[in-house]
Symmetry: C2
Subunit: 550 residues, 2 copies
């Protein structure tokens, strides 16, 4: 990690300054004395017996809820020493989680210390940290990015790495550690909690749900932070290109971040009403092929042409290719062939492919074929992540339209243009929702450590209600876990929350998409992060999920 001088608020823009001074409301339960109530013993999301073996000290522990109390339940004179780490990709609001922890300590455990580990989990292992002071933290309040202490993608996995983490915890005499991260990082946090507990260290570990992808959630953790901001930024940009498409007679293919799950794409569709939206989970469930996805888009383009509309907007999730079974099959075969055989110019090598894979390979645009054959990662494997799906689809749609033109089934000129919306949303200034939600998550994490909890993920609920009525607690991380078999061993994992095809958000989308396809129902949300009535809205996904639970 490079040297990180703290930010200087004096070079802030007016918006940054106004956000800096934006007040952060807390749920009522965090504003007054509270005690921690325990629920029934928990189990696991799957294979509880294996989880029990992997977490002998933590498995089965109840979740915790904070409830209002007449008297202060926790000792306000206890001086806590807490560490905090940002793990994985950026998500708007991370700085507010840290501010929340810090303010909890200032207000409820005066004289406590907060240490920020630098550059992600590597900072824990290497003992690289900074003591966080009010002056250091202040310029990051309600600001985007993870640059206060930066993040990293290292994991604490091996016995040596656990040992290093222990040493840091002992050296800093840590009462607690807050791990802000996604599914992997929270799994890691739980392993660390188990390890510390098993060695009778006093250091407790609390996780916080972070990822713009929105794929870390459960009944108790309604949403991961950052999703709200990222989707609002993307939806504004999509709304803009919709108007552009209509003005100029083009088809815009917009790829959206979200490799493993398509929540962002679904949310943006609900916010903007595009003509076609591909949801990876549906593609996988219906075992769709690249040809059928192409045909779906092409059919809509042709139907619109018949209606006189020669423009449109199509949303595609970043991870689309990973959801198409035949593509996975082709890539597996290619990896095998390329490892052992020579790719001859004549194409004899192609006979080694299964018939279905050969057919798919021939269907691909030439540029993609070359990319598959030429660009390999250090292990010699095809670099699937480098395939520009949005450009590939445009080319395939173009080819299919050309065919239909020859058959007299299409008579327009197709102009395709690709977009990728990703990085610009990951570090935006957090929305009102993410700002407040993150502050509560952090404040709650402080409370959970103060009350001696470990192996929980900070959980703030009832998010459809005003902030005052939000619920606060912690969910047993083991209760979110299942196991996966890797290299002959069971590994604990928090399963990624995928788009559920029988969930309310997808069902709402599915009921509308036919109309969006051929009629023009575009919505241009505009900038709604901070101002206006819409700036108080929660995401459509969350609203629909809460509604279906009620």
């Amino acid at each position: 990690m490079s040297q990180q001088p703290g930010r200087v608020a004096s070079v802030y823009s007016e918006v940054q300054t106004s956000r800096l001074n934006q007040s952060l409301p807390l749920p009522n339960v965090l504003k007054k004395p509270f005690t921690v109530k325990e629920g029934p013993n928990s189990s696991a999301a799957g294979n509880p017996d294996e989880i029990a073996k992997l977490f002998p000290n933590l498995f089965g522990q109840p979740s915790a809820s904070l409830v209002a109390s007449e008297t202060e339940g926790l000792n306000p004179d206890q001086k806590l020493r807490i560490g905090v780490v940002l793990s994985g990709g950026q998500a708007p609001g991370g700085h507010n989680v840290i501010s929340g922890i810090f303010d909890y300590l200032q207000e409820r455990a005066k004289g406590s210390s907060l240490y920020g580990f630098k550059g992600g989990p590597a900072g824990i292992m290497k003992g690289k940290y900074v003591e966080l002071t009010p002056e250091f933290i202040y310029p990051y309040r309600n600001q985007g990015g993870f640059d206060m202490i930066c993040s990293g993608r290292d994991k604490i996995e091996t016995p040596e790495q656990f040992k290093q983490a222990e040493e840091t915890a002992v050296k800093l005499d840590l009462d607690g550690l807050v791990v802000i991260g996604g599914d992997d990082s929270n799994t890691n946090a739980c392993l660390l909690a188990e390890n510390f507990r098993g060695k009778n260290l006093k250091t407790r570990v609390i996780g916080c749900p972070k990822t713009i992808d929105g794929d870390l959630k459960s009944k108790e953790v309604p949403i991961s932070f950052g999703f709200d901001t990222a989707c609002k930024i993307y939806a504004e940009m999509i709304g803009n290109v919709m108007i552009d498409a209509r003005s100029t007679g083009k088809y815009y293919h917009c790829k959206l971040m979200g490799r493993a799950a398509s929540h962002i794409t679904l949310e943006c569709a609900l916010q903007t009403h595009p003509n076609a939206t591909i949801i990876g989970e549906e593609v996988a469930a219906k075992k769709q092929t690249l040809k059928s996805v192409t045909d779906y888009i092409t059919d809509i383009i042709c139907k619109r042409a018949d209606l006189g509309y020669n423009y449109g907007v199509i949303l595609i999730p970043e991870g689309l290719i990973d959801f198409i079974p035949e593509v996975q099959q082709l890539i597996a075969e290619l990896n095998e062939i390329l490892a052992h055989d020579v790719v001859d110019e004549g194409g004899v090598w192609k006979n080694k492919l299964q018939p279905q894979s050969q057919k798919l390979f021939d269907l691909l645009p030439q540029a993609i074929q070359e990319q598959l054959l030429l660009e390999r990662d250090p292990h010699g494997n095809v670099q699937v992540a480098k395939i520009e799906t949005e450009k590939m689809l445009i080319q395939m749609v173009e080819t299919e339209l050309g065919k239909r033109k020859q058959e007299g089934r299409y008579d327009k000129e197709f102009k395709g243009q690709s977009h990728f919306f990703g990085y610009e949303g990951r570090c935006g200034l957090p929305t009102n929702f993410d700002s407040t939600y993150c502050y509560s998550l952090g404040y709650a994490a402080g409370a959970l450590i103060h009350s001696g909890k470990t192996g929980l993920i900070s959980s703030v609920g009832n998010l459809g209600a005003p902030v005052e009525d939000w619920t606060v607690g912690g969910t047993a991380l083991t209760s979110l876990m299942d196991v996966e078999r890797r290299h002959g061993k069971f590994k604990p994992v928090i399963k990624k929350a995928m788009v559920e095809l029988d969930g309310a958000p997808f069902k709402k989308f599915a009921s509308m998409r036919g109309e969006w396809a051929i009629k023009n129902r575009y919505i241009s949300p505009g900038p709604i992060q901070f101002n206006g009535p819409a700036s108080r809205d929660i995401s459509h996904t969350l609203l629909l999920e809460l509604g279906s639970q009620a």
Copy 2:
């Protein structure tokens, strides 16, 4: 042109609705009775003798200013028949120009008619139009895009095309035509005005300055509309990726729209303070090479590495390649060689290149070399516009850093990531400035036609002052013109306004960029189109230009 059903305001987002109802202030001079005052006779931007020959009826005419008057100068009972056309690429605010013309007619020449030609100048030639009514126009007020009547890139150039335009003007009995477009379209508007006048048609032609690129401006036309909105949207996104770069340790290379001039890149630099900014006009003036541009960026990366900063943001104008003389030379040679010779795999063909071009070709990344050799336009020419400059620069910087690493002059890992910000800004909802400015431009265009003027471009000035004090008038289009020799003939052109290296905006940038390069002075403007104090700011470019004139 596809069939365009009018927008339905009922499916608008909250922001769209709130903008719809946003009031549009007018300059004081347009709120009360006014007369039109003429200035001294005008000349041309260059070669006045040739311009005089090309515009015998219009050359030399004075510009017009609207001045407050005790009594109404124009006949309010005159029923005008006016046409309006959008020409060229989209720019936020076009709809407000149309609203401005419309409201002028409603308020100052009751019973008048406004016709919108559909799909750009082709709509004039084909006589495709729609009569604009309050119901039709209302949903487009303060909304982005050109979809009310759509635009097109056709030109009215040949004698037959002028004939078609005449026929439409006569058939519709037009008193006037407002052409909303860039430099080319306004040149065309002036030719049309000259033609109509030469044939004693009553149809007057008034232009309006449109282009997000900001390269249509003069002393009297301080800025083209759309620039303000586009730059504010891009600057927000750049501000976001700056925080991302700092959080994640990457170098983001952002390409920005603007092929012919680098105003957008310069404005965004002034708004956000990136580490390196390439201004095409400077590259051309200093006859920089691709190697020297690469070295400039690489030097900054190395200097930052020494300071402990392994991240940064670099801005590049879309048209960079066109500004590099040696690249132009290489492409000219390639076009020649590819037209007559076979490109052999052994590379013998390369001996046909001049030594300097050969050296440059060898410097290019392989993917770009292949692109230059393989992708040709229908005329067999290299497709310069398709070269992804931002990706090319990343690869060249990577190669240079690799070399320096071997020499022990650099020891970090460089992670480059490219972005292109363009389409998402072209059709955003217009900012407060563009909304108001466009409305005044349109209102003024109505007044100019009403007062019998032709061959002027609607001019609203004193833009640094409150709206009430803005000045209003029309500038003789011939006064902005020079000639270019094409196919042995003089052709009139409104010269594109390039970034002036001795202009105040560039000088301000040049005085700051050294500090921005190595210190971290990033500014994240956030969304400032509509709300907050910054939403009332004019662009830095305009502010600095006005300041230097004062």
